[in-house]
């Protein structure tokens, strides 16, 4: 058996594939690509796989991770090529290797959020002092200070777009970047009906180094 971890992009139309649907999409892609996947034993055999850090529907990702059990002893040389020929539009395998690091070493995710152009200085200012907000999780809702979850944040202008680059807590108590948008909208710095475009740019360890590398 070989445990492979592969890094893939999910952009454009593929961003709208929900986490649950993504599992199914990938499984069908493995089948089409003839990847020698391992099935679980039992009454309802299923492919042994997991998406390492689930992503909200509608967010793009430049490098998501998927772990998968193969029945072969080493990684097939053409793994990425074969899978790429079988993926829906907007999904692409960037690389694949043995799943070595335990996923509990993931501490942060890096995101890019894109808004219609606004006042970047004021936006930076907003996150210079505590930003209290109701945060929902599986265990319910509670009041938190967003700053406790923000490792890095910066705003800058790119043509007609304001770009927010940030590094946010992942792991057990993660922060969804939509809270930043919410805070900006509450403060009147982004128009209420403006669309925000989210891109996950990295999955990081506690030293803010790329977890996958």
């Amino acid at each position: 058996m070989f445990k492979v971890r592969f890094c893939f992009e999910k952009t454009g139309t593929a961003a709208y594939i929900s986490h649950l649907d993504l599992m199914k999409c990938l499984q069908r892609s493995f089948t089409r690509a003839g990847i020698p996947v391992r099935y679980s034993q039992g009454f309802n055999p299923h492919i042994e796989m997991s998406i390492v850090v689930p992503l909200s529907t509608g967010y793009e990702s430049k490098g998501d991770l998927c772990d998968l059990d193969l029945i072969c002893d080493e990684l097939p040389a053409d793994f990425a090529d074969r899978l790429n020929a079988a993926l829906p539009r907007g999904m692409r395998v960037l690389s694949a290797k043995q799943a070595d690091r335990p996923v509990n070493q993931i501490a942060y995710c890096a995101y890019e959020i894109r808004f219609p152009a606004g006042d970047e200085a004021a936006m930076g200012e907003l996150f210079a002092s505590p930003v209290c907000m109701e945060k929902k999780s599986k265990r319910g809702s509670r009041e938190v200070d967003l700053l406790d979850y923000i490792k890095e944040i910066a705003f800058y202008r790119e043509d007609e777009t304001t770009v927010c680059r940030c590094v946010l807590a992942a792991g057990n108590d993660p922060l969804n970047p939509m809270y930043l948008t919410k805070a900006l909208k509450n403060a009147g710095l982004v128009p209420e009906d403006a669309a925000a475009h989210y891109i996950r740019t990295g999955i990081l360890d506690e030293n803010c180094q790329n977890f996958y590398n």
Partner: protein
């Protein structure tokens, strides 16, 4: 996908329905095609993507040089609101381009309650609703599908309605369309020529007049249009186009699996069933063809299930050998077979067990009526003993539930027939108590009851639907009789069935009603959460149309029917003969026992059915 579409998607449920990009979706360079085709399904993505006919046409049209066929589905309410708010017109999923700019919009009419969906999609596309309001050659708005056997209520909206199977008609129509463009024909000249293609119905070339009592007086063809448009069929399904790829949705749909078609047509002749008459003659595929097609589809899609579809799968002559061979091939690949539409009287446990090796699904049978007398009337040649025998075998093998489908409001139905339903259910439960393998788990019987809708081009086309009051009384009777332990039941909404009956036997005077109802907010009428019966009733009253005239009236033997200029091949005389047999309570043997000369074989130039 443009920014406007992206903005719409931020606020809607299941956005993957609106993006395209699925595996096997076809992308072409729009500058290198000369014909843009939008396949429009007037219901939501999950329904439309499950439909086999669309997949065949999508593959076939995209296989044609210079043609790019894309898809559009009815947006759900939240998406429609976003699109209207942001001024985003209806777009094709592949290119994101507005479908109003396409050359041909091809709608499929699967179900009467989708008619408002057609209007809503045309409106969202910015295309005028009525054929007469569209004067240029593009967009050409075309319809096909099972409702065309009486599409008169929507006839005024379409330029062309295709009667029958599209595999041969589309290439001919597209060739004519290209010639029309080249020769700069105007739309009316093009339509006149189109009407000479077999199976092509051009509604605007027929004048309909009415008697004072509201019945049809005459349907008069103009400008050499044929007096009767005869259905087109494919003669040899083994040679007909069938896709080796289906689009694999990136989100859940209703039938999320590969499909191969065992045969078209049905030899049973249940008298209420429109498909049973309009898909004749019976044409089967060879097992070799089916195997090849199933294997190709699984390889190209990665699906884990392949369904063998037909109107009555147990009637396929080589079913057992085909299933054995497919199971042998697919089982190691974790691919299961689905075998819908099995009959209880030819139930074969070994077959079902073999098919369900990979995944076990439920048992479903459709006795349709509660007594033998009524089953003879409707020609559902299924005996209660056969049903109980099938249940006995299945229960003994470990099944502990069964789903049973019935209808209420069938012609000649009495209270005794209705109470017969609960009798059958009790007998099924008793069968389980006697033969069930695992009695301690208990049995589950799920009863689904729909309301009879008389359909055009069937022996029951002359009969009226029961009234609302009578439906309510019978429903109460059923509900009281089905309060049985281990039984759950559901009874279809009468109001929806009533509207189905209105449009199934309607005429052209219903077009303004459809438009009015749509303007009053009716759309996605098949979805309970949006069904607004009061708005429909208001639309009828605003237009001065009595819906009961269409739904509940018994039509005269000599009466001209609104769909008399459309033929499925089966003759009106044959249908009337079947009605008379029904009234006498006499069943007609199935076609295997001998040809009854229904008329459908003239479509294939004689020969015989594959029974």
């Amino acid at each position: 996908m443009n920014d406007k579409i992206r903005a719409c998607l931020e606020n809607v449920r299941k956005p993957a329905r609106y993006t395209g990009g699925e595996y096997n979706a076809v992308y072409k360079d729009k500058n290198k095609v000369d014909l843009r085709f939008a396949f429009c399904f007037p219901d939501i993505y999950e329904i439309g993507m499950s439909h086999l006919g669309s997949k065949i046409l999508y593959g076939m049209l995209n296989g044609m040089e210079g043609v790019w066929c894309e898809r559009a589905y009815a947006p759900f309410l939240d998406m429609e609101a976003e699109m209207r708010k942001r001024g985003q017109p209806l777009y094709a999923l592949e290119s994101g381009d507005p479908v109003g700019e396409f050359d041909i919009l091809g709608f499929t009419l699967q179900y009467e309650m989708n008619y408002t969906g057609v209007l809503n999609m045309l409106d969202l596309a910015g295309v005028p609703l009525y054929s007469r309001q569209r004067t240029s050659l593009s967009p050409l708005v075309v319809a096909g599908g099972p409702c065309v056997y009486n599409a008169e209520p929507v006839a005024d909206f379409f330029d062309i309605i295709m009667i029958g199977e599209g595999e041969e008609m589309w290439p001919e129509l597209i060739a004519l369309y290209r010639r029309a463009r080249q020769e700069k024909m105007d739309k009316s000249a093009f339509l006149r020529e189109a009407a000479s293609i077999g199976g092509i119905y051009v509604p605007s070339l027929y004048d309909v007049t009415y008697h004072d009592d509201g019945t049809v007086a005459a349907i008069t063809p103009r400008e050499s249009a044929p007096p009767v448009v005869m259905k087109r069929v494919v003669k040899d399904l083994d040679k007909a186009y069938y896709p080796d790829k289906f689009i694999v949705p990136s989100t859940e749909i209703v039938f999320d699996r590969a499909m191969v078609e065992l045969f078209r047509g049905c030899r049973r002749g249940c008298r209420f069933c429109q498909a049973g008459y309009t898909y004749r003659p019976i044409r089967a595929k060879k097992p070799e063809t089916l195997e090849k097609q199933a294997k190709a589809l699984i390889a190209s899609t990665g699906w884990d299930e392949v369904s063998l579809t037909s109107l009555s799968s147990s009637d396929y002559p080589h079913l057992e050998t085909l299933c054995e061979s497919l199971v042998d091939y697919f089982e190691p690949m974790h691919v299961s077979l689905a075998l819908p539409s099995l009959r209880a009287d030819s139930f074969n446990l070994a077959l079902v067990e073999n098919v369900q090796k990979v995944r076990k699904s439920g048992l479903t049978f459709a006795p349709e009526a509660g007594t033998q007398r009524l089953r003879d009337v409707i020609n559902k040649n299924l005996r209660e003993d056969d049903l109980l025998e099938a249940c006995k075998v299945a229960f003994a093998a470990g099944y502990n539930g069964v789903k049973l489908y019935f209808m209420m409001g069938l012609p000649t139905e009495t209270d005794e027939d209705l109470l017969g339903i609960s009798q059958i259910v009790r007998h099924v439960i008793a069968t389980f108590r006697e033969y069930g393998k695992n009695k301690s788990r208990g049995v589950r019987v799920n009863v689904g009851i729909s309301i009879f809708v008389p359909k055009a081009q069937t022996p029951f086309q002359w009969l009226g639907q029961i009234s609302a009051e009578e439906a309510e009384r019978r429903k109460q009777l059923l509900m009281d009789s089905l309060k049985i332990k281990n039984v759950t039941y559901s009874i279809h909404n009468y109001q929806t069935s009533f509207l189905e009956a209105v449009f199934a036997r309607g005429d052209r005077r219903l077009a303004p009603v459809l438009e009015r109802a749509w303007r009053l907010g009716c759309r996605l009428d098949g979805w309970d959460e949006n069904f607004n019966f009061d708005a429909w009733m208001q639309a009828f009253s605003d237009c001065g149309v009595d819906p009961a005239f269409y739904a509940n009236r018994q039509l005269g033997e000599d009466e001209m029917l609104p769909w008399d200029h459309i033929s499925s091949g089966v003759t009106k005389r044959y249908l009337y003969g079947e009605l008379e047999q029904a009234k006498r309570g006499i069943a007609t043997p199935d076609c295997k026992a001998g040809c009854r000369n229904c008329g459908a074989l003239r479509l294939t130039g004689g020969g015989k059915c594959d029974v």
